[in-house]
């Protein structure tokens, strides 16, 4: 469903949209609930990001496959059922892989279902595109989300525990910054990243002769 006068985006473009240009965490600021709540360590953040990416990709595939047969009156209900299904699947999968991780992520695995990013992608993209671009785009978004969460989680783990992926970086005498593993720390780190990104983009805008659009 390409807009008139604009060539349909290439597969790479579809992929890069979520990964970078429209990064869900740093540009669209979507899915903040898990982004703030579970990113106390790099492992938790990465697991949450990958779980979300899995739900995103699988639901995009299914939504895209059945996009022509779903009546538009019941499309949202259909998408929700599909998303909820994959969230349940991922819930079981994480419990099977590691119970420790499952308990650390807690209710936030089930809450992937209400992540507006997923329903938003299903409605705005997957339901209007054939499977290949839909999955590519969802993969880009999912990985972009995972990268965003990882960026939060690694900073919080380094400051909050002096570790990265559980490996101690500063030895046993490290003074943990307790605030970083508490909820306010999530806001501080997210704010710092957002500041960095918008500062960087504003510099790019002032330097390039033509204003760079939001895409």
């Amino acid at each position: 469903m390409a807009l008139p006068g604009k060539a349909p985006p290439s597969t790479l473009d579809e992929f890069l949209e979520g990964l970078w240009r429209q990064n869900p965490v740093f540009v669209m600021v979507l899915g903040m609930c898990p982004a703030l709540a579970v990113t106390v360590s790099a492992v938790n953040a990465l697991a949450m990001g990958l779980a979300t990416a899995f739900v995103l990709v699988s639901s995009a595939l299914l939504v895209s496959l059945i996009r022509k047969m779903v009546p538009k009156e019941v499309r949202i209900a259909t998408y929700i059922v599909i998303i909820a299904t994959f969230v349940t699947v991922v819930d079981y999968l994480i419990a099977a892989i590691s119970l420790e991780l499952y308990e650390a992520l807690g209710a936030f695995i089930q809450l992937i279902v209400v992540n507006c990013l997923i329903l938003g992608r299903a409605e705005a993209h997957a339901s209007k595109h054939p499977p290949l671009p839909a999955v590519t785009n969802a993969l880009g978004m999912g990985l972009g989300f995972a990268i965003g969460l990882f960026a939060l989680g690694s900073v919080r783990e380094i400051f909050g525990a002096g570790k990265l992926f559980g490996v101690s970086l500063f030895g046993p005498d490290f003074q943990p910054w307790v605030v970083m593993v508490l909820p306010p720390g999530g806001f501080f780190v997210l704010g710092a990243w957002l500041l960095l990104f918008s500062w960087w983009r504003s510099r790019k805008v002032t330097r390039s002769p033509l204003p760079v659009g939001e895409g």
Binding site: F170, G171, D173, F174, Q175, V179, L182, P184, L195
Partner: protein, 354 residues
């Protein structure tokens, strides 16, 4: 609402100039803070001097950094970052590691001021934001106290001061026992009251003999410095009056109801950082109300919340959170206490159906 034709040129307030500049006010506040700093250096020695310098330097460096980042002209010369640094240092414990002090200074300016757009736009008192940040980040270091008037305080530093950045500060236990001062307990008067039900005497609190943060030891000196600012009209005397008055009144009521459980009012007034907070922090012009009625409400909220946190909360000291809460309420208080426009009816005419 239709636009009026531009026959009159409209300008926002202020319309009357007092002839005072921000820079002049700020310089006088710094001047008033210096005796308090000097007194605490006299009490605690070299470490406190280093702490005050480090925190202030961190504040100034952060201010400069954000000036550069936003491409704005430097704002160091308005002294406001210096005030933030001095005030912040006064609220920290004397043995606070210097690198943590630098973190506090950075957080104060970055989170408390620069993110909101600089001086005048900040919602919260920057010094208290910095203090709240390190209280949440380093809960152990910020509640470790050392005795005052330690012999040799001008020739050696407290061992924790030069703790290696990012690392746990060394244990103070041995140093304290070597320098044991008679009657030293390692707990602030407020903690002693809360956990052991001992009430410190007024003369101990007034003269700065008690264990406390750098600048909250002598209520008398703080009041004198505040008086200087109030007399020269650099601060609104009503705010400290409202804060201290409401805290005193509430403490009196509690004390009369149950003298065994609640301490006498003088204790509430003189212990901890209430006087310092009331005189120097609650009065920050950017974060306190401007209406005359609002000022009293604001002060009363701070005084009441402080006493409530001290008596019924999990923390021993509540001044910091009380003032931050008062700061948050300021826009609301201002909105509800707008003075009646001259000649306007006493009550708003009932509005039509929206």
């Amino acid at each position: 609402m239709p636009h009026a034709s531009p026959r009159i040129e409209l300008r926002t307030s202020p319309h009357v100039q007092s002839g005072r500049t921000v820079e002049q006010i700020m310089r006088n506040v710094v001047l008033a803070l210096l005796p308090i700093c000097a007194f605490s250096v006299w009490q605690f020695g070299l470490s406190v001097a280093a702490l005050i310098l480090t925190v202030t330097a961190a504040c100034l460096a952060t201010e400069r950094f954000f000036n550069w980042m936003s491409g704005e002209p430097g704002t160091l010369s308005d002294w406001s970052a210096t005030i933030t640094g001095l005030l912040l240092a006064l609220t920290l414990p004397p043995s606070f590691p210097l690198w943590m002090g630098a973190v506090a200074g950075f957080a104060a300016i970055a989170l408390g001021k620069a993110l909101f757009g600089g001086l005048g736009y900040n919602v919260f008192n920057p010094a208290l934001v910095g203090r709240a940040f390190v209280q949440a980040a380093f809960p152990v270091s910020i509640s470790t106290w050392v005795p005052a008037y330690v012999p040799g305080r001008f020739s050696e530093f407290i061992p924790t001061s030069f703790g290696v950045p990012l690392m746990l500060p060394p244990d103070l236990g041995r140093w304290v026992s070597q320098h044991m001062v008679d009657g030293y307990t390692g707990a602030t008067p407020l903690a002693r009251w809360k956990f052991e039900n001992q009430v410190a005497g007024a003369e101990e609190l007034l003269a700065g003999m008690a264990t406390a943060s750098v600048g909250e030891t002598s209520a008398l000196l703080i009041l004198a410095c505040g008086l200087y600012l109030a007399v020269r009209r650099f601060l609104d005397w009503r705010i400290p009056a409202a804060v201290l008055g409401s805290a005193l009144l509430l403490a009196l009521v509690f004390h009369l109801v149950d003298p065994g459980r609640y301490p006498p009012p003088y204790f509430v007034l003189l212990s901890g950082g209430l006087v310092l907070g009331a005189v120097f922090m609650a009065t920050d012009t950017a974060t306190s109300p401007v209406t005359p009625r609002g000022v009293w409400i604001y002060g009363a909220v701070i005084g009441t919340v402080t006493v409530m946190i001290r008596y019924f909360g999990g923390l021993t000291e509540g001044v910091m959170y009380a003032i931050l809460l008062g700061n948050a309420l300021t826009p609301l208080i201002d909105q509800y206490t707008q003075p009646r426009v001259f000649g306007a009816p006493r009550r708003k005419a009932p509005e039509g159906k929206a």
